[in-house]
Symmetry: C2
Amino acid sequence: MTAPTRDIVQYYVVNSELGMSPGKIAAQVAHAATTMTLHCLLNDKSSHATFQAWLNAGQKKIVLRGTEAELLRLSESGYLSIRDAGHTEIPSGSLTVVVLPPADKEEIRSVVGGFKLM
Amino acid sequence: MTAPTRDIVQYYVVNSELGMSPGKIAAQVAHAATTMTLHCLLNDKSSHATFQAWLNAGQKKIVLRGTEAELLRLSESGYLSIRDAGHTEIPSGSLTVVVLPPADKEEIRSVVGGFKLM
């Protein structure tokens, strides 16, 4: 009997109210990816096993969209959020993306279940 | 007299011929961000100073677009490239993004000068 395969996913929620271009969205999501990778490697030792299992399985990422208020709520719950420096397109300090750490899909269904795909 | 400020940038070149959605593009660029971060931290010790300076200055990212042939040329030159697992939207193995390591803008102008913003 083999162990059940874990379905580990990293979710991003993009602020759909800012009217960002596809390139801008990609850059903001990539900021979140870089920052979360550094966090998982350097700060959050407790998550190493899940992070490594997620990498080994192809680092599955799903990009969702939400309102400013929804992102703010996630951010205030302690999820890592990205605020833009405001060099292009949008005002400085805009909340652009919230990113969740890689986690078992079933465990975070309650957090991201209400969001639509980007 | 102060030292001149370095303008360190990380460029991404997205394959514009695949017709990917904004969410798919963001996920692919984020794969590149995660993979490059791991590479800079764990493998390429020679780039640590530049990587750290780039992080400290706000991890500036610029997303460009290119043709399949242009991405292939960059990939064959040794730049890190992302091929999609093909779960959604596009065929498995599609070359989606090429990412350059964070570098001084002037130094990589010759590599990315011909590409347009995404």
